[in-house]
């Protein structure tokens, strides 16, 4: 068998029987290069002309992540400016999946826009603008950012994934996006884009019938939007992520009709609704009054006992519930109700809350093995006459069917 293989690959061997790496076919070299990080690949490309040629093959330049950091604002290294120049010069028309990671300096955001404006020959499928620290894209003059972004929108014509959270994108630029990419757009993440209005996002939903994933802030959500996403021509939605963020205390939020949510569920029965709340305790008025198809719910600030009670009543599709803080009254009844009514619940996280040990054991008993994630801070569990702090974890482990301990914080 070895002799057969040797015969087949005989032209790889030089006279003295050593493997001749120069004779490796380009396809194999390409495969190998694809697995190497860029730096290693660049070293390899210096070995000989053949390898250098392979280094510049289009297949190796489909994906790129531009890291734009300034020494004064970040601990991370940046993509070398010469490399950036090279890429734009030789490979901009090969690029398909591109992301920009920028730090908190305006220079980095500007550099990103600079590169974007030069991607004229690009037909991008994926574009991501990611701020790793403070959202520096917001510091740029809006028009500067918009014109750079529209270069991509207009030239790509086949954008499938777009991630533009925390940017000054606006309604007109979304129109340009839609005009050129409505057939291909599948994913759009645009949380915290303050210049976009509900009408702007509605335009996207109306025209981009292939949209499967959408992330935005609550103020952009409307009944019309949900209906547009549930229209016959629209594909099934997979994920909808909504951030509900308080700008000022006592802010009034609009409510969404139950019929709109019902339409969504009818159209896309398996869709996931992820909602993150960052509100003051007294701003929850319009929420959790009617049934809402939320699957993943996170309260990033303190939420009242009363609201958690309403969650139990209105969220039958709930899969994950995470509560940062509640207040210091036990959530016994609320948790039991959630165990009863949210039969899909498989993950729960409790931070600064209180639950009596007995109620917690009851909760776990009712949920049983379906709880795959149970992240409870140690201080949450209040000992009572049935269970103390040192034996609660045995009870819970019993009902879960695996060893479980609460999360701990160091006694610093």
């Amino acid at each position: 068998k070895k002799r057969l293989l040797r015969k087949r690959f005989s032209h790889y061997y030089s006279e003295d029987g050593a493997v001749d790496w120069r004779q490796l076919p380009e396809e194999i070299l390409l495969q190998i290069f694809q697995y190497l990080p860029l730096l290693d690949r660049a070293f390899a490309s210096q070995v000989c002309r053949g390898w250098n040629q392979t280094f510049h093959m289009p297949e190796l330049w489909r994906c790129f992540e531009f890291e734009l950091n300034q020494h004064a604002s970040s601990y991370l290294k940046a993509t070398h400016p010469d490399l950036i120049k090279q890429i734009i010069k030789r490979h901009s028309n090969h690029l398909q999946y591109v992301s920009f990671k920028v730090d908190s300096s305006t220079e980095s955001a500007e550099a990103a826009c600079d590169i974007l404006s030069q991607l004229v020959n690009c037909s991008l499928k994926t574009l991501g603008l990611i701020s790793t620290a403070r959202p520096s894209f917001m510091e740029l003059p809006k028009s500067h950012f918009i014109s750079a972004l529209t270069v991509v929108f207009v030239n790509s014509k086949s954008l499938s994934s777009l991630k533009i959270d925390d940017t000054p994108v606006d309604d007109p630029s979304l129109k340009v996006l839609v005009a050129n990419n409505s057939d291909t757009l599948k994913l759009l993440k645009m949380s915290s884009c303050p210049h976009v209005s509900p009408a702007g996002i509605l335009c996207v939903a109306d025209q981009c019938h292939g949209l499967r994933e959408l992330a935005l802030n609550y103020h952009l959500l409307s009944d019309e939007l949900l209906l547009a996403l549930s229209s016959e021509r629209h594909v099934h939605l997979e994920h909808l992520r909504i951030d509900v963020v308080s700008e000022n205390p006592g802010q009034q939020f609009h409510s969404i009709k139950k019929s709109s949510w019902d339409a969504m569920v009818r159209h896309s029965p398996k869709f996931n609704l992820v909602m993150y709340f960052f509100l003051y305790e007294d701003e929850f008025g319009p929420f959790f009054r009617d049934e809402v198809p939320v699957t993943h719910l996170y309260f990033g600030s303190s939420v009242s006992k009363e609201v958690l009670g309403r969650v139990g009543l209105t969220c039958p599709r709930l899969v994950e519930l995470v509560v940062c803080a509640n207040g210091l009254r036990p959530l016994d009844e609320e948790l039991i109700r959630i165990a009863e009514r949210c039969r899909q619940l498989s993950a729960i996280g409790l931070g600064e809350c209180e639950v009596s040990c007995s109620a917690f054991v009851e909760f776990v008993k009712m949920c049983g093995g379906r709880l795959t994630q149970l992240s409870i801070m140690e201080e949450v569990l209040v000992p009572d006459n049935k269970y103390g702090p040192d034996d609660i974890h045995w009870e819970v482990s019993k009902h879960l069917g695996r060893v479980w301990f609460p999360d701990m914080m160091p006694t610093w």
């Binding site: 493997v19 994906c63 992540e65 999946y97 990033g300």
Partner: protein, 569 residues
Amino acid sequence: MNGKCDSVNMAPNSIHWFRKGLRLHDNPALQEAVRGADTVRCVYFLDPWFAGSSNLGVNRWRFLLQCLDDLDSNLRKLNSRLFVIRGQPANVFPRLFKEWKISRLTFEYDSEPFGKERDAAIKKLAMEAGVEVIVKISHTLYNLDKIIELNGGQPPLTYKRFQTLISRMDPPEMPVETLSNTIMGSCVTPVSEDHGDKYGVPSLEELGFDIEGLPSAVWPGGETEALTRIERHLERKAWVANFERPRMNANSLLASPTGLSPYLRFGCLSCHLFYFKLTDLYRKVKKTSTPPLSLYGQLLWREFFYTAATNNPRFDKMEGNPICVRIPWDKNPEALAKWAEAKTGFPWIDAIMTQLRQEGWIHHLARHAVACFLTRGDLWISWEEGHEGVFEELLLDADWSVNAGSWMWLSCSSFFQQFFHCYCPVGFGRRTDPNGDFIRRYLPILRGFPAKYIYDPWNAPDSVQAAAKCIIGVHYPKPMVNHAEASRLNIERMKQIYQQLSRYRGLGLLASVPSTHNGNGNGMAYSPGEQQSGTNTPGEFHFFFSLYLKLQTNKAYQLFYFLKCFKKG
């Protein structure tokens, strides 16, 4: 290693080298110095001598000097003295070995990487000078290397795993007797007339500190104080509902006369003594023989971080630290300064930082609050900044291992922490101390605000601010961030970072953090220190760091190996 002995007189001249372990009780290394020795001299090296030039850390220096004073006065009762020496040990020891004809050097084992390096160099020096070196473990409850050995050569990275390991080990050793005249025996300390000038404990002024207007120490240093406190601490514990976890209330935030952490750090209080007194008391009160591990919480957390740090010289860094996640923290000196100087505009945060600066101690939940605020909660600034320039200088009980470890924990940079629970700079304080007395005590400018607004005074109507004689933005800063927006942003970032590490593709927040169900920290689901800076990102519906590429690199080597096989065939 035998000492070079005078052929006439076999009894050695010893030096006991104090670094931490500033006590005469439970000090096995000190006992070894004295055992059968002719003379013993206890030394402490002070360097830099001019620590006071920046006036930073005045509380810490004062505490240390008080510890040294206390040692000196206790040694006097045994006809001995403390020798405070200027300079670096490596430079000075050779001279001392000659001058005092030393043949034995003793010191308490220092488990920290810097300490081990320093001690290795000194051991070498000593060996060259024919000096016998005796090292004893007494700063930690256990031999940390044994814990690591039991865990397969790696320190446990979850507290649960750590507890499991130590429960399998022999209990900590009993504290040894306090140094006494009996134990000293015929061993003496030659003290010269000018000892005070040459080797006396300096004052703060001599070190260059400006002490005008310095309030008296809330935490007086020294072994004597430590031993008084531990009795008080135990009395209180027995009195407080049978060892139950004390409920956090407004009073807990204030410095307590039973607080022990600075004394443990400097070694004025032996952790073995504390351990055994706790055990004793528990058995007496509960009439059972096996106390739960939670009884020793404070000591065991300390032990946990010491164990995690001992073999990791980069434990206090993000870069090059195999257990630290590389998080793209922001570099923002102005924001950092506001936090450090108690000018964030959030009274809860500012009051805590003020207490820290004035007194040198803050409650551990207060530490959580300010650490979270600086890092993953609000400012997104590196934990290294909080650890190095601020806590290390200001916090009396901040030793390297515990401080760095706690910062990593609180910033969710290590130890498999869930990051969803964020401490709100308004709400958390309000729930702890609803009346706001803590704020009023440390930020007198806000005294006039009613409890309703004292945690978020910027929301108070103008009339209330005017009545309080404190206009926000004028007399007290406006809040430096919008907490809701900051937390939204930061949670999202933490989630993305962790999802890349755990290669989790789903929507859950909790599942993003890789878990170790058996808590053993071995066979970790990820190697946080090995993230590379992303250079090529495959495009999909999600965006990844090049941990994906790292996986692929292994495949490349497999391919190379496969091709190499032809040669052998």
